[in-house]
Symmetry: C2
Subunit: 458 residues, 2 copies
């Protein structure tokens, strides 16, 4: 049962009659749950409910609703009210919201934001310049950085103070900086708690710090955090000066987002930026249509191949019966192979350099799968034989399936490797793309084998 | 350049002549990097190198190599040596390794493990019973749990002691338990640092604890940690007694693993359990072949549809030319729709109850896409007209494309919703599955329209 169905009907009435007690009631909920309730409300109710919340809770909720809901809320209220909520948000989430807005909408909010928090406004102005899918766009500037001579007990005090003032998002690492903000090392909260209180940070810190650059893609950042099991990774510039840090909780979202983008690319479309329903109809048609039109143009070649082989087809009508069956078998095998390789590349299981091992593996797998499907095709072909000898048709169908399955396994596995080698995202070698290539090749193989076998038996 | 190419040629020599200095050199590397080097070595070299490492470092490396490498290492060394490395591992990783082994191999290791760490061996015996993809299989039992009357300063001391003894994996939460291990609340390390040292935990703790059950699927656990931005989530039994906790770093791995499994299912195959190269040839053929055979059996219907319509096809040979083009357009659109819905369901953007909105959206998108592709089909059909009037063939091809594209968008989007409603994983409504359904329906639509139009013009 949805919480909103409890709230729904009477919400307006309560909002008007007794906003105080509604606020108190909502204070008991987790911000995530309030965000879910909001998702089920009409936009007007959503804004009204958000305005009832304390700015702190509203900020927590803002961090959890969809970008479209964030934008429509900010557009519905005054810049001053908006800035008050924004000032309570984590800086990285604040920047994400600003990046969703038009440039003209951002300016008044930033001006108002200065009244609440000059520093936050200044930082936001800087961070908003990084692309939303880069380390710079993901990072927060709320971290604790201390000079190398700081004593462990002083560092604990500093962490306590920063956390107390709500200034830092994650207190699990202290970064040791010196010589002009240069990142010298990292000390975990665990190291601090275990350390001798009188020691200096430079003697406790780990000097080999795993780090990223501000322009690194979010996928790389996620990969590094996952690979090294980190709670956060520092972002440094080319002079190794500390700019910010990306925390693991942001990375979980990135991994989910990237998986969705990859899946959409692998299904032959441009990835959506918003959720399914939040994407406008024409953007939807555009992102799907571009690829469909390109694939259609490629598929036109199948009609040409058929035209070229029209005589063979007229002489042996039974050949036509098996065209969908044969090309789809190729498409299915190619789709398996390309997906296996695309995912294995994405998680670093294999590299482009492994292409020979991949081809060897796909050749043997394709051969075995082709034997199984070919045997089934032999039976069906034998039954259908009419104007040609049943066994001849059976031979054509089964050997074509075998050849096309092997070919598809190799094409499906090699194309992503080639595309990756060319510096592109291998996920563009989508299932529909592989299927199109395989359809054209498959028809050529099919008619080639048919002509050969029938000329032998004529 | 791979590190292994530096090490490779001389590795054996160094291993024999000067293992001490090799050990010292490797101590400087991050365990993750050593794991990567190992991945490029021959199995025998891998075992030899692992044995040079200190048990602590070997344990860190073990946590980062593939399950197959873990198993082959343990099989190559004595149970006593193996148990020494295992005793240094995090309990949840230790259990993962044990789950990879055969029952007969586990027993001697557990017996030896008791010599190093009785408690770890006992816990492992319990945890190994949970499925590897459940919260119970993911959780660690190394957490700090304290009674509600504990003072904040005592809790900090307890955390410090536990971390000092290397007993806990994550010290970011303290669980407050009482009345027979019942989970009463949670206190973050941040709360402890900020709290008044003299206060009791029951006055500092958060009582509404987000939690999971030991048999909950790992996907659910990942979803909860991501949704509430947690560092860890406690696992409780039906009496709310605390059993363990799952930390966010394990969840990042789960999310990546699940994305790969989903992608493989969506490409029409059973998900692999091991990496691409680690999967045996016959398991590979089996996991891909089962689906291919089922899809092939379904696709046999296309041959039957063609047989039924053989007369129409003989009368108008041009119809055959467009069969691959038309069915693949349907397949491509259906693949986009199903992927969009499968991912939107996976990340909770939409629910089965939204089916009417989904159908409405897909009908309009399908109609617009069908118009574009249909127009292109009209041109190609007009050119190909020979035994029939060009405009008649053009009309048949274009209206068929329009109809099939709309049909595919609806089928592709509704099937995952139906499958989800039936309690199955919507990812089984894979691209090849949708394509097969759409191929059969598409041929029926195509021949139906052709017969109608040609009978009008005859």
């Amino acid at each position: 049962m949805r919480l909103s169905s409890l709230l729904g009907p009477d919400l307006r009435a309560v909002l008007e009659s007794d906003p105080e007690s509604l606020r108190d009631a909502l204070e008991e909920f987790h911000a995530e749950d309030i965000a879910e309730i909001l998702g089920d409300l009409e936009p007007a109710d959503r804004v009204a409910l958000m305005q009832v919340l304390t700015p702190e809770l509203a900020a927590s909720v803002m961090e959890r609703i969809s970008p479209e809901q964030q934008v429509s809320f900010l557009r519905a209220i005054s810049a001053a009210d908006g800035a008050q909520v924004l000032s309570e948000m984590d800086p990285d989430d604040l920047v994400d919201v600003l990046q969703e807005l038009e440039h003209e909408e951002r300016a008044p909010l930033l001006t108002e934001l200065e009244r609440f928090d000059v520093e936050a406004a200044e930082e936001a102005r800087e961070l908003v310049l990084y692309g939303p899918e880069t380390a710079g766009g993901l990072m927060t500037t709320e971290y604790v950085a201390l000079p190398p001579q700081t004593k462990v007990w002083e560092a604990i005090e500093a962490v306590r103070r920063a956390a107390d003032e709500g200034e830092v998002e994650s207190i699990y690492y202290v970064y040791v900086c010196g010589y002009g903000e240069k990142l010298l090392g990292v000390v975990s909260l665990r190291d601090l708690i275990l350390g001798d209180p009188g020691q200096e940070l430079e003697h406790v810190m780990t000097e080999k710090v795993v780090h990223v650059g501000p322009l690194d893609d979010q996928e790389k950042v996620a990969d590094i955090i996952a690979r090294y099991d980190l709670s956060a990774v520092p972002v440094v510039d080319s002079d190794f000066a500390l700019l910010g840090m990306v925390t693991v909780d942001d990375v979980v979202d990135v991994v989910i987002e990237e998986a969705t983008e990859d899946a959409q690319m692998m299904a032959g479309m441009m990835p959506l930026e918003d959720s399914y329903f939040a994407t406008g109809l024409f953007e939807f048609v555009w992102k799907r249509g571009v690829w469909l039109v390109l694939l259609f143009l490629g598929q036109l070649l199948t009609a040409t191949v058929m035209e070229v082989n029209q005589l063979t087809l007229q002489r042996t009508m039974e050949l036509a019966l098996f065209i969908p069956l044969i090309i789809s078998s190729g498409g299915n095998v190619g789709s398996q192979s390309s997906t296996l390789i695309i995912r294995a590349l994405a998680i670093g299981e294999i590299e482009s350099a492994d292409w020979l091992r991949v081809v060897t593996r796909e050749l043997s797998v394709g051969f075995l799968l082709g034997l199984v499907l070919g045997a089934m095709g032999f039976l069906r072909g034998y039954i259908a034989g009419d104007t040609v000898a049943p066994w001849a048709l059976a031979a054509v169908v089964s050997t074509s399936i075998l050849a096309i399955v092997v070919l598809s396994a190799v094409v499906g596995s090699v194309l992503p490797l080639v595309i990756k080698r060319a510096g592109l995202d291998p996920a563009v070698s989508s299932t529909p793309f592989i299927a199109s290539v395989v359809d054209v090749l498959g028809l050529m193989v099919y008619f080639g084998i048919a002509q050969y076998v029938f000329s032998m038996t004529a």
